[in-house]
């Protein structure tokens, strides 16, 4: 029997015992209240009612408190009643109120319950009074029976360590602004597990508000079943969150766990089969029916949380299946060539601990993992940690600090692609009730203000030597990625359209990911982690492909690139710039990095066998006219030669060089010259 189970049995036993029996101090007895028999009778009735409600489950503790408090107002000096009230408060969101009642119980009778000191320590820990908590944990250890110690001893060490961590985190609190997400998002019920897409334009979360699908309550905790809600930002303000209804939500628990960076796919949690992960996609403005992920991901155990990688090629998920490092662990699985999930791999002991891990979120930068854990250096319950995957290794998880983490459970944290904003659920003063969703604005690394003094004065100077204090270095911490987003439209009618977007590594010549724009809005969003030269090809049936190139250097800070793309139908006169055709400087040999773009041209010529095209070369204004003319002709011919070698009839291909005669941008800047140096594709007949 494991230690946790023994502990639970002891707690249940103790709670049951002390809830059903009365101890010392001023007991609820007629002899103690000879002149107030009627009130005594009511008080005892209230205790009985409280006990009955208490027994119905944790979700009703709050209701039990109401009865207990009525009895307590009649006789505030009963140790056991105070203990019960404290215990109930400790299990609600008003945990801070537990301290007063536990302290009162302890003062009235320090042996009111064997675990009173332990619970008091817990209450102090949850209220961030760490020194008091440590003191009570130590007192509990020194007074507990040997049998209790065998169960609690290891736990006490962990709790004391948590308190020490708490003190450290409290002394080094991180600079953030925490804002309630507002009444468009939050309700008077519990709203939690928020996940945002990469550019923070959509927020998806779980709520237990009264308009859930089916409108029923879970008898386990007397709260409404969970449903998924979605909100979109309009002019930087959250629009009213909406319940998307069926098929996303059902009459039972439906909870958010993962949201793809482009906002087009969702992972959700459903309680069947011990708890499984499902996926659904946005088709226009409708969510498809959730599909259970394969058995490589879902098992008979509990799979509770999942996150998309930036390229949709990997899934990070949480499972408590056997064979891990203890409790729930985080796993990763990759898609095989058929798009099926491979057998998952445990992320290993750097990430997973003997305790539970939960709430996994992979940042759109493709390397920073946020997750919650009861292990590592938590300050109590689940804390949120981050770890970065670099050079084939996960970095030691870092507690993201107070005030985001608290001694209570902090689970589900999602971060915008820019790294500036995070979202999580918490209970705070002036909230809307229950758990609320909050946004966290990070202020970057601490920036110490600079003091200027005049030190080291030289005696002979009437004016002293002026010196300044040496600055502390700030390490950049913004996300290293670019967000590429925009709308894809049909050039003819300007209507948004669905198109396939392929992202590939130009240097490696490999396709990294493919996406689709939304069929209704034409919107797309792609995360491009820095350190690669990306080629992007947008394709749709009946249209010429569109190509873009984004070279994101390794040290590039977060940038957002808005690129609206107008797709040209396959018809005579349509032309595109081939942005991923590369030549060496002043040469006309095609570089190997051009291969994917060349293959795209080849594909379209194969798809339209009667199409005749013109490939034209263009230069900037540097160099002589004759030189530029020759270079542009040879470059155009190089592309044509490639296609002829691939088997395209040479009569379908025209190579033209225009030198610098058709510049499309200024030659005064490098950016302009770069635009001028280009290769174009034009349909001459079809």
């Amino acid at each position: 029997m494991n230690a946790n189970l023994i502990k639970i049995i002891i707690c249940v036993f103790l709670s049951g015992f002390f809830l059903l029996s009365y101890g010392q101090n001023i007991e609820f007895k007629k002899s103690n209240f000879p002149d107030r028999k009627k009130e005594l009778k009511i008080a005892i009735k209230n205790i009985k009612k409280g006990d009955d409600v208490y027994k119905m489950g944790r979700g009703l503790y709050e209701n039990a408190i109401d009865f207990y408090l009525k009895a307590n107002s009649f006789n505030p000096n009963n140790a056991q009643l105070n203990y019960k009230i404290g215990f109930c408060y400790l299990n609600t969101i008003q945990k801070n109120k537990a301290i007063f009642y536990f302290e009162t119980a302890h003062k009235l009778d320090s042996t009111v319950a064997p675990d009173i000191k332990y619970l008091l320590a817990q209450a102090y820990q949850l209220n961030m009074q760490f020194d008091e908590a440590i003191s009570y944990y130590n007192k509990f250890r020194s007074t507990a029976s040997p049998s209790m110690l065998t169960v609690y001893n290891k736990e006490i060490d962990k709790k004391i360590n948590e308190c020490q961590t708490g003190k450290l985190l409290l002394a080094n609190l991180i600079k953030v602004f925490i804002d309630n997400a507002g009444d468009a998002i939050n309700s008077s019920y519990s709203d939690h597990s928020p996940i945002i897409n990469a550019d923070e334009s959509s927020l998806i979360f779980t709520s237990r508000r009264s308009d859930v699908t089916g409108g029923k309550k879970d008898p386990a905790d007397n709260s409404y079943y969970e449903d998924i809600y979605i909100a979109h930002k309009i002019n930087d303000v959250w629009g009213l969150a909406k319940n998307p209804g069926k098929p996303l939500n059902t009459d039972l628990h439906d909870a958010t766990v993962g949201f793809s960076p482009d906002g087009q796919s969702l992972y959700i949690y459903r309680g069947n089969n011990g708890g499984d992960i499902y996926q659904c996609k946005l088709d226009g403005d409708k969510w498809t029916k959730p599909v259970r992920l394969s058995n490589n991901i879902n098992t008979k155990y509990h799979e509770t949380s999942a996150s998309f990688s930036y390229d949709n090629k990997k899934i990070y998920f949480v499972s408590d299946k056997t064979g891990g490092y203890g409790g729930s662990d985080i796993y990763v699985s990759e898609k095989d060539e058929h798009g099926e999930w491979k057998s998952p791999i445990n992320l290993g002991p750097v990430i997973n601990t003997p305790y539970d891990e939960e709430g996994v979120f992979m940042h759109p930068d493709g390397k920073t993992l946020y997750f919650s854990s009861k292990g590592h250096n938590t300050m109590g319950g689940y804390d949120i940690f981050k770890s970065v995957y670099e050079n084939g290794k996960w970095s030691t998880p870092e507690n993201i600090g107070y005030p985001i983490n608290t001694p209570d459970d902090d689970v589900f944290f999602s971060m915008s692609a820019s790294g500036k904003h995070g979202y999580y659920a918490s209970t705070k003063k002036n909230g809307y009730g229950g758990l609320d969703i909050y946004s966290v604005t990070f202020l970057g690394q601490p920036k110490p203000v600079v003091i200027n003094t005049e030190d080291n004065l030289i005696a002979s100077k009437t004016e002293p030597v002026k010196t300044v204090v040496i600055q502390e270095k700030i390490i950049p911490q913004s996300s290293q990625l670019a967000l590429l987003k925009g709308t894809i439209t049909d050039k003819k009618n300007n209507m948004p359209m669905k198109a396939k977007i392929e992202v590939y590594d130009v240097d490696e010549g490999t396709v990294i990911a493919d996406f689709e724009s939304n069929s209704l809005t034409g919107k797309y969003l792609i995360s491009l982690p820095s350190g690669k030269n990306y080629g992007v090809t947008v394709k749709a049936d009946g249209y010429l492909f569109h190509s873009e190139n984004f070279n994101i250097p390794p040290d590039a800070s977060f940038t957002e690139i808005i690129k609206d793309i107008s797709m040209q139908p396959v018809e005579v006169g349509s032309n595109i710039i081939l942005k991923n055709i590369f030549f060496d400087y002043n040469k006309y040999d095609l570089r190997p990095q051009s291969k994917i773009e060349l293959e795209n041209i080849y594909s379209i010529l194969t798809a339209y066998p009667s199409m005749v095209i013109e490939i034209s070369g263009h230069t900037d204004s540097f160099g002589s006219d004759a030189y530029n003319q020759t270079l542009s002709e040879k470059r155009a011919q190089a592309v044509v030669d490639y296609l002829i070698n691939k088997g395209i009839d040479k009569n379908r291909l025209v190579a033209k060089g225009f030198g610098k005669t058709k510049n499309i941008a200024t030659n005064e800047t490098e950016e302009g010259r770069q635009l001028n140096r280009r290769t174009e594709f034009k349909i001459l007949s079809n």
Partner: protein, 349 residues
Amino acid sequence: MKNKNFWIFILLIISCTSLYSQKDEVIITPNISAENAYNQALFYLEKQQYQNAIKLLDYAINKNPSFVKAYYNRGIARFQNNDYIGAIADFTRVIDKEPSATAYFYRGQAKIAVNDIDAALLDFLKSAEKDPSIAEVHYNIGVIKFEQQKYEEAIKSFDTAINLKPDYAYAYNDRGSAKRQLNQLDEAIEDYIKAVKINPNMAFTFNNLGSIKKQQGKYEEAISFYNKAIDLKPDYYIAYNNRGSAKFDSGNYTEALADFNEAIRIKPDYVFAYNNRGNAKYKLNMYNESIEDYTRAIQLDANYGFAYMNRGIVKEQLRDETGACEDWQKAAELGIENAKVVLKDQCNK
């Protein structure tokens, strides 16, 4: 009546020969010799009446254009009268005719005054070559080396100055400052202590002691030395500013604020104190008031990059992201390295 006029004439002659006019301006007796004028100039030099000395020496040089000693003394008078260009010209004439260690030394000092430091160093080195026994020459070489951030060479020159003049309090102070730059903090403290033992009235040395203790994180000792500096010189705004910074560094922002207030009261255009007071107010959550102080500092010195940097930090706290980025942009333009990092990190610039 004729008798009366005669006595008035005699009185006028006497007043001329006593060399004073009613406004203490010398009136040169007509036709006196160059040597006579030169000798009279020495009298005024001793009395620190440099204008009169210059007038007489002008006369002497006019009478005798090759009068080297007159050039030399006029150089001294012009130097003392803050006419450094004139002094340099005079000492150059001297050096051309009769080069001496002292002429090079004074020309070097005049060149320092006009910020021609490299040329001054050459003069001091020439002076030391001609006569290596002048402690002040080595001291001045040390000061230039210090300003050129050649601290080890500076220390060698201060060593020589101290060997030549063992009670040279200034040389001890400055050697202490050079050692501090080399992070030889204990040795620096020894030199400062030696300096104030020789001359216990050097408020700036107590200020230096305070600053070195502050650097060591010994804030109470630092404050005690700054107190001593302020006792010696009650209007010592630099010491108030520095004491405030020690209190700031030790987390006592309220008392720091009081010191910065006092520094500003004494010197209302003291730009550092405005910046620092802004910092103290920021720490006391007086964000709007702190911005006013940084803004005042910027008004006083438009190139004060740190004030822009700090104001940006407070604007960020006030959630004025645009304003913060604008300030950091300006700070970055003014060469503040941290601002460049923050701009890239948080403003995507």
